[in-house]
């Protein structure tokens, strides 16, 4: 109780962003057949755990839930993966990750300089704008943006896999050196 009372507004706001981003991601990615008020409770619970423990594995689990939910709704239920819905899910996924990364570093009772949160918001907006541009290029280049197999997806995917391997090697090099 005493710990809760000491909670400062800055960390609380960042954890609030984690909660709303995770809840929005789960809601948007959920199959339409399941979308009802009763779904709100498990979504809120999963998002709450992510907000309460931003430094734990629960954030990764929540993000995996969003992805699994997305794959299920588009693959098992055959829902169309519209560009708007896909991008919104991607943004929610990224914001959950980014806000949780920030919240994990802020002690719950810390007095946070406003500039820290403003700068974080600016960086997040920049990433989202850049992602929108990349997504636009993907849409322009792809002849058909549907959840079916396409040569472009395979080639693009392989390109990003190569990039990811490079990043992984770079990140791993941090520990090895």
């Amino acid at each position: 109780m005493r710990r809760t009372l000491r909670t400062a507004p800055g960390p609380l706001a960042v954890r609030g962003i984690v909660f709303f981003a995770a809840a929005a991601g789960l809601w948007i990615a959920a199959p339409a057949a399941f979308v009802s008020l009763r779904l709100l409770l498990p979504i809120a619970l999963a998002a709450l755990f992510a907000a309460l423990f931003p430094g734990g594995r629960v954030v990764g689990v929540t993000m995996t839930l969003i992805i699994v939910s997305w794959i299920l709704s588009t693959l098992a239920f055959g829902e169309p993966a519209g560009i708007g819905r896909t991008f919104m899910t991607a943004c929610a996924l990224y914001l959950t990750h980014s806000a949780a990364a920030l919240a994990a570093m802020l002690p719950h009772d810390a007095i946070v300089d406003n500039q820290v949160i403003i700068r974080w918001a600016g960086r997040s907006a920049m990433v989202i704008v850049a992602s929108a541009a990349v997504t636009g290029i993907v849409v322009l280049l792809a002849t058909r943006f549907t959840p079916t197999t396409s040569t472009f997806a395979v080639l693009g995917g392989l390109g990003v896999v190569a990039a990811i391997v490079a990043v992984l090697a770079k990140a791993a090099g941090l520990r090895r050196r």
Binding site: R6, A8, G10, G56, G60, M63, T64, I67, W70, I71, T74, A81, I83, T86, F87, T89, A90, L93, Y94, H97, S98, A101, L102, A104, M105, L106, P107, D109, A110, I111, D113, Q115, V116, R119, W120, R123, A130, T135, V138, F145, P147, T148, T149, S150, F152, A153, V154, G157, L158, V160, V161, A163, I164, V167, L168, K170, A171, L174, R175, R177
Partner: protein, 449 residues
């Protein structure tokens, strides 16, 4: 024949900077999920999964381009040089970015003594540290109790690359802060039992209240209005006073009974323990007599048996305050008697014993001092309104019995010529000092000089 090098081979220097910055769980999460999404998109032939991975991949790529590597600088400092309890103390934690990229944030913490009530000092502070800039977080608050307090160590955890990299805690050393006791207002009758120097025959060389003119100087704080030299003041258009030499040469010995402590110390704004009252009263009495030009010395009645040589003047007052900072009650199994203590005290000195009379040896010491012919005044430093923890049904009765026994001891001491007066600040000692002065003027038989 192969020659061996005389010096041992140099060991490779530990790479602190590389080890300082470590990846956070967010980095592994972002990389793992991005890889999974891309692999799934390849395996399932789904371009929408690539779109889901794009922001995560871009954020990791952008973050890795501005990866910090250097060791940050951290410094803890305080600006106060002569803080008195109740006064405000300022502290600053400064974190310096020596890197080529900015840090996202720095989480700064400072540990401090419980008597330093720095505003929001018990909370971590998070601040931005741009490239090539030193960010500072300032704390301010009152030091609520005298003593040698500690400020620090301060620690900083720095976060860079959009929360994907963080440092281990960078820690500074701790600072020692001396907080001097606040002297309660104390004024005493000038009736001293016996001065070493006789007025009119040997004038003192020390400035103070007296009749011998030492010169004319500018008016300063603490000067009496009747000392103003109006002719010089009118001529120079600035207030001047006639400085005189002290014609008193009395020695005041403050004997601090540190055998036991009692009561709860809550700082300057709360209740005071025996030790608090002893130290504050000692500082007040010392200040008063040193201001008058007398010599003051201090003796500790406890296991450490410290002693401060008699001296006068402003410097001695600072020395007294420093000396008092190290006063701590330490129970001692064997303690010197009054006769042994009296051997080191001048026969003409006024001995002010600050004692809570909690230990039976304290009363014995007082009686021994009087028997040795010293002029003794006992100041009772036991706090009023002392509460006793209830340990059983007999606690109240036992406490009342103890109080009666203590009053009996005080009465017996009075019969032996030791006036015991409760410490109450200004004027506490006036009545008893007059009694002691009267006793001193009476002829004494067998007093050791």
């Amino acid at each position: 024949m192969a020659l061996r090098p005389a010096a041992p081979p140099r060991e490779p220097e530990p790479a602190y900077e590389e080890e300082l910055w470590v990846p956070t769980r967010a980095l592994s999460r972002a990389v793992l999920l991005t890889a999974l999404l891309v692999l799934a998109s390849v395996l399932l032939g789904r371009a929408d999964l690539v779109v889901l991975a794009v922001p995560l991949a871009i954020s990791v790529a952008l973050a890795m381009t501005r990866r910090p590597t250097a060791m940050p600088g951290l410094r803890l400092s305080t600006v106060e040089s002569f803080p008195v309890e109740g006064g405000y103390l300022g502290a600053t934690i400064e974190v310096e970015n020596r890197d080529t990229v900015g840090y996202d944030l720095a989480v700064l913490r400072v540990q401090r003594s419980r008597w330093l009530r720095l505003e929001d000092g018990d909370r971590p502070h998070v601040t931005l540290v741009p490239r090539g800039v030193a960010s500072a977080v300032e704390f301010s608050g009152p030091a609520v109790r005298w003593g040698r307090l500690t400020l620090g160590p301060a620690s900083a955890v720095l976060v860079g690359a959009d929360g994907l990299l963080a440092t281990r805690a960078v820690v500074t050393g701790a600072l020692g802060v001396k907080v001097y006791p606040m002297t309660e207002a104390f004024v005493a009758d000038e009736a001293m039992p016996r001065a070493a120097g006789l007025v009119g025959q040997h004038r003192s060389r020390r400035p103070g209240e007296g009749g011998e003119l030492a010169g004319v100087r500018q008016f300063g704080p603490g000067d009496r209005l009747r000392r103003i030299d109006w002719r010089v003041s009118l001529r120079t258009e600035r207030l001047h006073v006639a400085a005189t030499l002290s014609d008193r040469d009395a020695e005041v010995v403050l004997l601090l009974d540190l055998l036991a402590d009692a009561g709860r110390s809550e700082g300057i704004f709360g209740s005071a323990s025996v030790l608090d009252r002893t130290v504050r009263a000692s500082a007040a009495i010392a200040e008063h007599y040193l201001h008058l030009g007398d010599r003051v010395s201090l003796i500790e009645y406890g296991s450490s048996a410290r002693r401060l040589r008699p001296a006068s003047g402003r410097r001695q007052y600072i020395t007294v305050l420093e000396w008092l900072l190290d006063a701590h009650p330490v129970p001692a199994a064997q303690e010197r008697g009054g006769a042994q203590l009296a051997a080191g005290i001048s026969a003409d000195a006024l001995v002010v014993v600050l004692t809570p009379l909690l230990d039976a040896r304290s009363a014995g010491m007082l009686a021994g001092l009087v028997r040795a012919g010293r002029f003794v005044v006992a100041v009772d430093t036991l706090p009023t309104g002392l509460t006793v923890p209830n340990a059983g049904t007999w606690t109240g009765l036992a406490y009342r019995l103890w109080k009666v026994e203590r009053e009996n001891t005080i009465g017996q001491l009075a019969e032996h010529g030791v006036p015991v007066v409760a410490w109450a600040g200004a004027g506490s000692l006036d009545t008893v000092l007059r009694d002691v002065a009267r006793l001193a003027s009476a002829p004494k038989v067998g007093a050791r000089r």
